[in-house]
């Protein structure tokens, strides 16, 4: 399990780096975020929720059945949007209202 950072979208704000519970993300020489220890990622998605540029996605490793889909979140106030990009180019979006509790 790990994350992928799109360098072209990253603006180097460092928010993902600040929040990672494993201190795994660093900024490179060009002030772009990169994951220094990809095998150590817990998949908690904390960094993804911090990124205002939607530059970070997370994917399932092939060893746990991953098939190439990658997910990121978009913060829209009360709504947290989860966007899954599938390998065939299609998208799937799920919206969570932060004011709504889980039903289960």
């Amino acid at each position: 399990m790990s994350i992928a950072i799109n360098k072209n979208k990253c603006v180097g704000c460092g928010r993902c780096m600040d929040v990672c519970p494993g201190s795994l993300i660093k900024l490179d020489g060009e002030n772009r975020a990169f994951i220094k220890y990809p095998k150590d990622c817990w998949g908690c998605t904390s960094c993804i929720k911090e990124c205002r540029s939607y530059a970070i996605g997370f994917f399932l490793g092939a060893d746990m059945g991953g098939t190439g889909s990658i997910v990121h979140t978009e913060d829209e106030g009360d709504i947290l949007k989860w966007v899954v990009d599938m390998p065939d180019g299609s998208k799937m979006v799920m919206e969570i209202d932060r004011n709504e509790s889980n039903k289960y």
Binding site: S2, C20, P21, G22, G61, M94, R98, Y104
Partner: protein, 561 residues
């Protein structure tokens, strides 16, 4: 390498669930005290709560009493719990929940305005942002300083009393020497001792945070604190591969455990936490695997709610469903046991504390997953323990003066750090030794490989090998302070492993299937083993101490020499 000295009235090690709540309580009870939180990550999203949680698992629902909760936890652990700790925790569960709601946590209410229950002890929430909510409240406290990205490595002792701690700043290459009148250990439990379910690229896709490495246990053990019930390992029953929780499926939509023939097998083995794991293991051993939670046929609305619930706590499971197209209505969810963890919030392993959460070492307190005797704490229990410990600290240090750390003690610590960072190369890396440790624990101390079973001969081999790995770890080399942290994490885990092995060997019965499945003593033995197995590290050896059960009528106090 810089060196920084700090003095604070109270040092909280670990700004997680229990640590944050202790800070909130200290400000209420004793706002004149300076409080310092040292957190290895960043309190906004550190520890167990990083991804969010799905429900509050410990709550006294309408018509129930704290005593009911004690009875439930005692039954689940087959008697080996501390009644005094469970009761004092249970009595506070609802008040800390109300406080969480006040701070901004969304909790589901029914038509009467009461919290909507999930089963007998759980309430439903939106827990995605539970950690940022807690962190924000703590950041506002005027008396509390937070240092993020500082990994505490050791306690400072003087005359058998804790007088502070040592830490390393992983981003600023600084060694911290902290003097405090009281130290609260709130570092959570230990993951990564055993080989995980996915040992390759996804090795850290485990249930418990891989960054909770058992530092608090190890620091306590090395400081000579008494520890309890490390043999009661916690093995979680989880969704295969993603290791996402199963409670939402089992309790939320009533999904039953079935084997590959479609037979519901849970009744056959019993419904305690360990029996559910054992049943699943045994169905596989006897050729009826894989096992599943039966979700096929649930309706679309239920399915959508499930997918959302998982996004709020274990998004990888939802991603798996979406990307494979095999959503829970179409395919039952395969389940498996995780590698064993040592976690006092689920089972009873941890510091041997008194009713006020004082450890046996003066000046040191413990709360949350690092503290023993009080299983089934979960989020609210960790908060409650943080509150109890903070109460005790506020009272205990009222008239206390600082004790300074001996220069000779400081020199030893600095020298140790220097020895790791001044080497230029080493034959092994911390990562290699960690893998070796996990292989040893997996093969000889009841890991996934042996279906969690072990015998005494195997444990003896494990102990020799773990000791050797600890020796090898002395020659490791760190290129920077993050690598230095990895060396300390490895060494912490090795210290905890030795205690786990000693405890597994000491309890000569099998009280909990899978959690401590001793093949030399496969039966439960109530006559001799309705006792706590405790231990103390003395002169390089682990000394086992057996203690009689403590009930809720007791108010247990340590007597310090």
């Amino acid at each position: 390498m810089d060196i920084k000295r700090i003095q604070t009235d109270v040092l909280i090690i670990g700004g997680g669930t229990a640590g944050c709540y202790a800070a909130l309580t200290l400000y209420e009870k004793a706002p004149q005290l300076n409080v310092l939180i040292c957190e290895k990550a960043n309190i906004k999203r550190s520890g167990c709560l990083a991804a969010g949680v799905n429900a509050l698992n410990a709550y006294i629902t309408k018509g129930r009493t704290p005593q009911d909760y004690v009875d439930y936890a005692r039954k689940d652990a087959d008697g080996i719990v501390r009644g005094d700790l469970l009761l004092t925790m249970s009595e506070r569960l609802n008040a800390v929940t109300a406080r969480l709601e006040e701070l901004g946590l969304v909790i589901l209410k029914d038509e009467n305005g009461d919290y909507a229950a999930r089963g007998n002890r759980n309430i439903k929430i939106n827990g995605e942002n539970i950690k940022p909510i807690l962190a924000k409240a703590v950041e506002k406290l005027p008396n509390t300083q937070i240092i993020n990205r500082i990994n505490i490595t050791d306690l400072a002792l003087k005359n058998a009393e804790v007088v502070g701690a040592y830490g390393i700043g992983i981003e600023n290459s600084t060694v911290y020497i902290i003097e405090a009148k009281a130290v609260l250990m709130a570092t959570g439990g230990a993951a990564g001792l055993y080989k995980p379910n996915n040992p390759g690229f996804s090795r850290h896709k485990m249930w418990y945070p891989p960054f909770n490495t058992g530092a608090g246990f190890a620091m306590g053990i090395k400081a000579g604190a008494e520890m309890t019930t490390f043999e009661m390992r916690f093995i979680a029953l989880r969704c295969k591969d993603t290791i996402a929780p199963t409670g939402t499926l089992a309790q939320g939509v009533g999904a039953k455990q079935i084997n590959s023939r479609g037979e519901v097998y849970e009744q056959k083995y019993g419904l305690t936490t360990s029996e559910r794991v054992y049943g699943t293991v045994n169905e596989n051993v006897e050729g009826r695997g894989p096992c599943y939670l039966k979700t096929e046929g649930i309706d679309k609305a239920t399915e959508e709610s499930l997918m959302k619930a998982y996004l709020n706590m274990a998004p990888s499971q939802t991603l798996k469903w979406i990307s494979s197209g095999l959503t829970p209505s179409k395919q039952n969810v395969e389940i498996e046991g995780t590698e064993p963890y040592i976690v006092g919030g689920h089972t009873a392993s941890g510091f041997w504390v008194d009713t006020k959460r004082r450890t046996t070492v003066k000046g040191l307190y413990a709360a949350g997953d690092v503290s023993g005797g009080c299983p089934q704490k979960y989020v609210t229990g960790a908060l409650a323990e943080g509150e109890i410990a903070a109460d005790a600290i506020a009272r205990d240090i009222k008239d206390k003066a600082f004790v300074s750390i001996e220069q000779s003690d400081i020199d030893i610590h600095i020298e140790e750090i220097r020895s790791f960072i001044t080497k230029k190369e080493a034959l092994f890396t911390a990562e290699q030794l960690e893998e070796a440790m996990q292989t040893v624990m997996d093969s000889y101390a009841g890991g996934i490989k042996t279906n969690y079973r072990f015998n005494e001969k195997q444990l003896d081999i494990a102990d020799i090998k773990i000791k050797k790995l600890y020796e090898l770890s002395e020659d490791l080399f760190a290129a920077d302070f993050q690598e230095l942290m990895y060396i300390y994490e490895l060494r912490e885990r090795l210290v905890v492993c030795r205690s786990v092995i000693a405890h597994l060997k000491a309890r000569q019965e099998t009280r909990w299937h899978s959690f401590a499945e001793n093949l030399d003593h496969p039966q439960k033995d109530d006559k001799n083993w309705r006792k706590y197995v405790n231990s103390k590290f003395e002169n390089g050896r682990i000394k086992i101490v057996l203690r009689e059960l403590v009930g809720e009528e007791n108010s247990f106090e340590h007597s310090y020499q």
